[in-house]
């Protein structure tokens, strides 16, 4: 009988991929290399920009700071904060996108799906309109409630009735919510010229001119939320096998969904507050990472973090270099990198809607 089964599998041989002797070690080394690459790209971000700076000056600005040097001051005061911000926002958005895709089991999952970005934008615009605030550090406090309220509304509309929040329902409610908030934001912009002037710079998505105080305001949100997301790998692994299988394995799927959605809201809200809505990092990164790492979210998540960080830092550097002496905002650069990616993704295979 055993021979009969063996004969069966011989008749239909499946391609056998030989595993490396120690996959874990290999993956760990890969992660270190990726982290090193991200760090290197961040250093490039210090070195290149609209003002020509030598490598030496950039180095000194970080390690042997001389206040009298104009170049070093530029590096220290302008480039260091924006690089750090780009690094963490890129990583945070990528992790948020990965979690969204895992939880909704939707290959097009993106933080903007829950209407999170639109909610944050609306919150910030309202605050600029009503209270005349103007710095990203102040934006944070209005971006969060906006993001949270939008996603709670979207989530609750999608989850009423039998079947719960399916990917399609979430997407539908998210798109509608985004349009609704977009219309209201437009109305505000029309009524106030000053608001329009501020919002247009913020809404294009940029990390320019953010100083360290912004960094300190957002870090308490982004760092813990990112860390918490990185720890969700095990749960996402099980959830990706289907709702019923996950529940049969003893998982409280409702609770996992709630927690992870909350983390996504925090990450997206904080990122939007600081840098405005930046698309595609959350969408593209998980796909790139999955094609390299495989299906294990415990590896996908940290890989996504560093890939997203590297991607956004590089996009920011590129935007500064190609349009010297002015610069192209990172949101625009990301759209031009990400959109072809999305189109290629759409062309390559049928993505289940």
């Amino acid at each position: 009988m055993a021979s009969a089964v063996a004969a069966q599998s011989e008749q239909t041989p499946a391609p056998v991929r030989r595993a490396p002797k120690s996959r874990t070690a290999l993956m760990f080394i890969g992660l270190l290399v990726l982290a090193g690459l991200a760090a290197l790209l961040s250093l490039f971000s210090l070195r290149f920009g609209s003002l020509p700076v030598t490598t030496r000056e950039a180095w000194d600005a970080v390690f042997r700071y001389n206040v009298d040097s104009y170049e070093q001051t530029i590096v220290r005061e302008m480039r260091v904060p924006r690089t750090i911000i780009a690094f963490f926002i890129g990583g945070g958005l990528a992790v948020a996108g990965t979690v969204m895709q895992g939880v909704t089991r939707n290959p097009l999952g993106d933080p903007s799906i829950l209407g999170v970005s639109a909610g944050a934008s609306f919150g910030v615009t309202t605050a600029i309109f009503l209270f005349g605030i103007s710095t990203p550090a102040q934006f944070v406090w209005f971006a969060f409630p906006g993001a949270a309220v939008a996603s709670v509304v979207v989530y609750s509309i999608a989850s009423v009735g039998r079947g719960g929040p399916t990917p399609v329902r979430l997407a539908l409610a998210g798109v509608v919510m985004s349009s609704l908030l977009g219309a209201w934001t437009s109305a505000l912009l029309l009524m106030s010229e000053q608001t329009l002037d501020l919002v247009r710079f913020w809404s294009v998505g940029s990390v320019a001119g953010r100083n360290l105080s912004v960094l300190w305001t957002m870090m308490p949100f982004i760092l813990p939320a990112t860390l918490a997301c990185l720890l969700m790998g095990h749960q996402l692994n099980v959830l990706s096998m289907g709702e019923e299988s996950a529940r049969a394995l003893g998982m409280n799927t409702q609770r996992v969904r709630m927690i992870s959605s909350g983390l996504v809201v925090i990450l997206t809200g904080a990122s939007v507050a600081v840098a405005g809505p930046i698309g595609f990092v959350g969408l593209a990164t998980p796909h790139i990472v999955r094609s390299i790492v495989g299906a294990d979210y415990r590896w996908i998540l940290p890989y996504s973090f560093f890939t997203g960080a590297a991607l956004l830092t590089t996009a920011d550097t590129v935007g500064r270099v190609i349009a010297r002496p002015s610069e192209i905002q990172v949101g625009v650069v990301m759209a031009f990198v990400g959109a072809p990616f999305l189109i290629a993704l759409a062309r390559r295979r049928t993505v289940a809607s």
Binding site: A14, V16, R17, M241, R247
Partner: protein, 532 residues
């Protein structure tokens, strides 16, 4: 002793009661199978047993404890479920999938321990998947994929395993592969197994106990010999079945075959029209070639069945000759005319195709659906001619849908829905009909129902019928001519008595079989020897 028990269990969706007052005990170390017609509540019951659904009334007791009072982890350590809706994540390997079954034994953030790894190895070994442990699940054959999922369940190390229709979509060889594994897990590992199965004969071959359900209640409960009887099957499905007792074969047991209402089984030998003449056909999707240099003749005016294992290219062949799919090379003649030379509309007046994967728009009534089939016969001005109306009435009557004509298609049962789609195909009023697995997901009475109509259309109206069928015994009964395919090639063709023979079964499916004679029709009846 009873491991799992229910006490007066009732389950309802909204106010629609699906399972009604069910009390049963599952004994440790047995294989229990739940069977019944479509919509009888068998899958719902299984999901309630596995704590996926909350009952409306009554309790599910696991070793005397209410499962809803236990923690989810505690339940998951004692019983596992292989859901029908299980999805394998992209690019996952077999061993990764199996390792996920360790979830209930792991603590938050705890990496796989030695014990977990051992459990994974053991599960892979039991499921005979060790040699494929690093293969991607997407690239496995259907039977291997199902075995990988069962290994996942094994890694959960639960004394009780529940499987929801683990053999859907599988051909007869893969079915045997999975059933052998289930049997072995029970006999050698002492696992208690509860399954929902579609196929009565499969259930009879593997189970210690069969629970037959209808309308949310138990109709019969007992050993296969008690349940697979003419009386029980007739109350269960509403059709008369012939039951065969085969003692001299291995395994000994019972085998049933439903009776048809038409007097099918008498083969016609003379084609009344040329039918299809296919030469040097190459089929495939894009760069992927499925069949090459395929030449065959499908007789006109007869019923032809195409059979073969999963992925042998039978559906692709059918779609290609029906021009639903582009051919890569070759010639297809239908009644002496090249198919590709016809306009879309003209071809649609010559052949109709009932395919799979059709969509059902909201609020579409049966009559609307059937009327849509008249499209190729209508013009801008003639949208509702007397002929259209007459044909729609005829098709509705033929498929026994007159009563249901104003009901939205979405609220029909599986069998009724399939009849509605079939009515849409016949209302096209074409001399040729192509049917792609028309009986999938239907229970035996609905299968017989549909195929009886197909039979009448051929015998009374002389239509050429070409169908891909899953069930070999139905193919033998209803077809005049059978084409058996394997790996994109034709392995055998001829009369049912020539094709349904042990040698061909061995060559096409790689299974041992024994051929009986169908009492109702005198046609061959294939019983796979499951070697358990």
């Amino acid at each position: 002793m009873s491991y799992l028990a229910t006490d007066n269990l009732a389950i309802a969706y909204d106010n629609h009661v699906v399972v009604d007052g069910m009390s049963l005990q599952i004994t440790e170390g047995t294989i229990t199978t739940i069977i019944g017609p479509n919509g009888c509540g068998k899958s719902t019951l299984l999901r309630a047993l596995a704590r996926i659904l909350a009952p409306k009334q009554g309790t599910v007791l696991l070793q005397g404890q209410d499962i809803h009072a236990m923690s989810t982890t505690a339940v998951a350590r004692n019983m596992g479920l292989l859901s029908q809706q299980a999805e394998s994540p992209d690019r996952i390997t077999v061993s990764e999938l199996v390792a996920r079954g360790r979830y209930p034994h792991q603590k938050f953030l705890q990496p796989l321990t030695k014990k977990d790894l051992d459990a994974v190895d053991k599960a892979l070994d039991l499921a005979d998947m060790t040699s494929l442990r690093d293969a991607a699940v997407d690239e496995l054959s259907g039977g291997q994929r199902q075995r990988a999922w069962i290994a996942m369940l094994l890694a959960q190390e639960t004394p009780l395993m529940m499987l929801d229709e683990p053999t859907t979509y599988l051909d007869v060889a893969h079915e045997i592969e999975v059933m052998q594994l289930v049997r072995r897990l029970n006999r050698e590992e002492g696992r208690t197994i509860v399954m929902v199965l579609h196929d009565i004969n499969q259930a009879a071959s593997v189970s210690d106990r069969i629970i037959a359900m209808r309308d949310g209640r138990i109709v019969a409960d007992g050993s296969p010999d008690d349940v697979v009887t003419i009386e029980v099957l007739s109350t269960l499905y509403g059709v008369h079945c012939d039951v065969y007792q085969h003692d001299h074969h291995m395994p000994r047991g019972r085998f049933c075959m439903p009776r048809s209402n038409s007097n099918c089984g008498a083969c016609l030998f003379a084609p009344s029209r040329p039918g299809f003449a296919v030469s040097e056909l190459q089929t495939g999707y894009g760069k992927r070639v499925i069949s090459q240099d395929l030449s065959l003749t499908i007789p006109g005016g007869l019923v032809t069945a195409i059979i073969g294992p999963n992925a042998c290219g039978k559906s692709t062949l059918l779609k290609t000759i029906g021009r639903l799919q582009k051919r890569a090379a070759g010639q297809i003649l239908l009644d002496n005319t090249e198919v590709s030379k016809e306009s879309h509309r003209k071809l649609a007046r010559k052949l109709a195709m009932l395919g799979q994967g059709a969509l059902i728009p909201d609020r579409l009534t049966v009559e609307d659906l059937v009327t849509a089939g008249r499209y190729p016969r209508q013009s801008v001005w003639q949208r509702c001619s007397l002929e259209d109306e007459r044909m729609v009435e005829w098709a509705l009557e033929k498929c026994r849908l007159l009563e249901l004509r104003d009901i939205p298609v979405e609220s029909l049962s599986g069998g009724q829905r399939q009849r509605a789609w079939f009515a849409m195909s016949i209302v096209q009023d074409t001399p040729t009909l192509l049917l792609d697995e028309p009986t999938t997901f239907l229970d035996i009475s609905a299968q017989i129902d549909l195929l009886d109509i197909v039979w009448q259309l051929n015998r009374d109206h002389g239509k050429t019928i070409v169908m891909v069928l899953h069930d070999l015994n139905l193919a033998a009964r209803y077809a005049d001519y059978i084409i058996a395919m394997k790996d994109g090639r034709i392995a055998a063709q001829g009369l049912p008595t020539e094709v349904i023979v042990p040698e061909v079964m061995q060559a096409v499916y790689g299974i041992e079989s024994s051929i009986l004679t169908d009492q109702a029709t005198g046609m061959p009846l294939m019983i796979p020897l499951r070697g358990m």
